[in-house]
């Protein structure tokens, strides 16, 4: 379970997340949407203990991330938006390091690493350094790292970045299966079609505040639009895309 109560983060005078209330139940995949700078990644960072909230509460699997960070972190897995990894390590070494940071039994971790890398077709590349991996291969390693300790709660921040179509299908199926097994999943993405297809519920935020919630159909209906994409554009105040395109071309003249 993921829960935030009046979660707020300020950077100086800027409020990135403003009294956000959120609740994701086990078995749910919550699509977390918002335009650039809406506060999605900041929220994820607060929920995973990477940033301290200015005020409010962030709970992961029932544990307050601020007062019981280790208990919360034992139960969460994260695929960060940055996709940053230690490139000098091989794929396998990186996963072994993450397993060690989670205090996993080395033998159990080794078997799981072998199995998961095999599922992502990375078995042959496991002893190559991450520096030589493509963006998609790194992303697969990060997804593997997030799942390695079989966490209750998963945070996926743009997990399909750079991943090929086949692997993307595997990830999407995997997310659905994980949800049916009772995992709690927070899924951030700018690809609305993917969100629409796999998420059981969607929350749209802008300016750090929640501006819409429900299924894709609910949100579109409430916004009076035919699709989630149109509803998103309307809700987040984007100008008519045709106008913007015309203005762009005019600026280049």
């Amino acid at each position: 379970m993921i829960e935030t109560r009046a979660l707020t983060k300020r950077f100086g005078d800027t409020t990135a997340v403003d009294a956000l209330d959120l609740r994701v139940e086990p078995g749910e995949i919550l699509g977390f949407l918002g335009p650039n700078g809406a506060g999605k990644s900041t929220t994820v960072k607060m929920l995973t203990g990477m940033l301290q909230p200015t005020s409010g509460t962030a709970l992961v699997a029932g544990f307050d991330v601020v007062t019981h960070p280790l208990e919360a972190k034992r139960r969460l897995g994260l695929v960060p938006e940055s996709g940053a990894v230690y490139e000098t390590l091989t794929g396998r070494e990186y996963l072994e390091m993450v397993a060690d940071l989670h205090h996993m039994d080395p033998d159990r971790a080794a078997k799981r690493i072998r199995d998961l890398l095999g599922l992502f077709d990375l078995h042959d590349a496991q002893d190559q350094r991450l520096k030589g991996y493509s963006k998609g291969m790194r992303q697969k390693v990060l997804i593997t790292a997030a799942l390695l300790h079989n966490p209750e709660v998963l945070f996926f921040d743009e997990p399909l970045n750079g991943i090929d179509a086949n692997a993307a299908m595997v990830v999407k199926d995997l997310l659905r299966e994980l949800a049916t097994k009772g995992k709690t999943i927070l899924f951030c993405s700018h690809v609305l079609e993917v969100v629409e297809r796999i998420c059981t519920r969607i929350v749209v935020i802008a300016g750090g505040r929640r501006i819409a919630e429900g299924t894709a159909a609910d949100i579109a209906a409430r916004a009076g639009t035919a699709t989630l994409e149109e509803a998103f554009a309307q809700l987040t105040g984007v100008r008519d895309t045709g106008d913007v395109t015309r203005d762009f071309l005019a600026a280049l003249e």
Binding site: P69, L70, E71, Y86, T88, M97, V98, D100, D127, K131
Partner: protein
């Protein structure tokens, strides 16, 4: 501005691009936080690039103040300029070796510039300008007090000439080392570049510090001391004298050798500039980029059920955090050029000090002879034992892959334990082998084996205390900070100064603790207690620091 434009264009570069890129580089340097990257909490303490440079300026200015009395005493413009320029040569050379080799040879900006219409010459000139701005500023800071002293003694014209000579020497030193690196990039096949650069770093550092050592020996030998140092054929062997001719000429000390030296200096500047331009360009950045992009190893996939590698099994008895940190440090040392070069730039000094410490072929036993004499003879060995692990410990916090430090924040690892294990890895991988070798040597030299063992134990405990102090001063998670310019040399010179404290402590221990069995026991016991207290202090400070620490990468 017109002159600058003419100079840049005369060098074959695009003035507008050069100006834009130079400005951006300097802005980036001043805006970056010293301890930016993964740990925002630390950034508050680290301050901006300007603050970091201010600290360096104070340090170099302080070193410079120590030179001024020598200039005052020597009075002679040629000789005093030679002494000051020698110090500048050594300082600027050390700084480039430790700091700017990475600026020069690591194509950070290649990805940004490679597809833009920037010529190789412009690219080179931008890189050179950046290095020269830093090295010239440091040279001026180091020599400012001496130049003023020359001005007081011989007038403004001599001081002005000394300043011009100083800038010439600083530029020549920078160009010389850049040309050397550029030549290596040119001649070495791409697939051997990484290893070759490491060897080059070792050899140039060793050569450079050997030069310092030989210089010390030469200037302190009675034969040389008896010489009246006038400009002559043999003084021209030392590049600093070429540029020292300028203040000498301004003071009316002309002569064939002074003019000859000045000509040599001018030829060196032009020649080195041409060589550097030819060898360091976007095309070489392209070679480096190709090297870093190309997958170097394509190992066969392990057979199903294959045993894990030996390295992984060797650490299986250690704690998970230790294994995680050890794996990372090992990989960084093997494959992160910046980290390895940072370590390798200090290693030759340690080896040299070891050799210098043993050069007389005998070492006085501190347990039986005079403690003062023993301290004098053993100090270099002590510096080597203290400097390398301390510098390594400080380098462990920095990496280009710092954004990957998010993993410490999103996993249930305890930061204080990670830091403690990082120190343990440094101890086990670097300090313990060094002390084992040293222990054997000392046991042989002292003639009483247990004297060697006890002294190495004492040294090990003091070195561990120094590592604790380094961590207390600057606790950062392994490879969680982006490296910044002027950090490595700043840490090196800073550590060198701070080293006085443990060296003094060792002297005191040898004088009072080594005199009786009780004293020896008390020394070891006292150091053990100090180490335990140090551990508690580090743990407490780190826990406090890590509380509320945020990841901003």
């Amino acid at each position: 501005m017109g002159l600058l434009r003419a100079l840049v264009e005369a060098a074959g570069a695009d003035y507008r691009q050069w100006k834009a890129l130079t400005r951006v580089m300097l802005k980036a340097d001043t805006r970056s936080t010293a301890f930016g990257g993964a740990q925002a909490g630390a950034a508050k303490e680290g301050g901006s690039g300007v603050a970091r440079f201010g600290t360096m300026a104070l340090m170099y200015g302080f070193f410079g103040l120590l030179l001024a009395p020598t200039v005052w005493t020597l009075a002679d413009p040629f000789l005093s300029a030679t002494v000051v320029y020698t110090a500048v040569l050594l300082m600027v050379g050390s700084t480039i070796l430790m700091e700017f080799q990475s600026v020069v040879i690591v194509p950070d900006d290649y990805g940004i510039l490679a597809f833009r219409p920037v010529s190789s010459t412009t690219y080179f000139l931008v890189k050179l300008t950046n290095v020269v701005i830093y090295t010239s500023t440091l040279a001026i800071l180091l020599a400012a007090a001496s130049v003023v002293t020359l001005g007081v003694l011989h007038g403004v014209v001599v001081a002005g000439a000394a300043l011009v000579g100083l800038l010439g020497l600083s530029l020549a030193t920078a160009l010389g080392l850049i040309a050397l690196y550029g030549a290596v990039l040119h001649w070495v096949p791409a697939h051997r570049l990484e290893r070759m650069l490491s060897y080059l770093q070792l050899v140039t550092s060793l050569g450079f510090f050997a030069f310092i050592f030989l210089g010390q020996e030469l200037y302190t030998s009675p034969a040389v001391a008896a010489l009246d140092v006038e400009p002559s054929g043999w003084t021209l062997l030392h590049p600093a004298t070429w540029y020292a001719g300028l203040p000498a000429l301004a003071a009316g000390q002309g002569g064939a050798f002074v003019i000859g030296g000045l000509l040599l200096g001018a030829v060196a500047l032009v020649g080195l500039f041409r060589v550097s331009t030819r060898h360091l360009s976007l095309s070489y950045a392209h070679r480096l980029a190709a090297r870093s992009e190309a997958p170097r190893e394509r190992p066969k996939a392990p057979a199903a059920g294959a045993l894990p590698r030996r390295g992984a099994r060797a650490w299986s008895w250690m704690s998970p955090e230790f294994r995680a940190v050890a794996r990372l440090i090992r990989a960084q040392f093997r494959f992160d050029t910046r980290f390895r070069l940072g370590v390798l730039s200090v290693l030759p000094l340690s080896v040299l000090y070891l050799v210098m410490g043993l050069e007389d072929g005998r070492l006085p036993d501190p347990f039986t002879g005079s403690a003062l004499q023993a301290a004098g003879a053993l100090n270099l060995l002590h510096i080597a034992a203290l400097l390398m692990p301390t510098m390594l410990m400080m380098n462990v916090g920095y990496s280009e892959s710092a954004p990957a430090g998010w993993v410490y924040f999103a996993t249930p690892c305890r930061a204080p334990r990670l830091l403690r294990h990082a120190r343990m890895v440094v101890m086990m991988a670097f300090l313990v082998p060094y002390l084992a070798i040293l222990g054997g040597l000392l046991a042989w030299f002292f003639g009483v084996w247990w004297h060697g063992v006890i002294h190495v134990l004492v040294l090990g405990l003091v070195a561990n205390g120094a590592l604790q102090f380094a961590q207390l001063l600057h606790p950062v998670l392994p490879f969680s900070q982006s490296p910044q310019k002027m950090q490595q040399s700043g840490r090196f010179f800073g550590t060198f100064i701070i080293m006085i404290v443990p060296l003094g402590l060792l002297g005191v221990l040898m004088a009072f603790g080594y005199r009786s069995p009780t004293g020896i026991l008390a020394t070891l016991g006292g150091l053990l207690v100090a180490n335990v207290l140090g551990e508690l202090a580090v743990s407490s400070k780190v826990s406090r620091r890590m509380e509320g620490l945020e990841f901003t990468g």
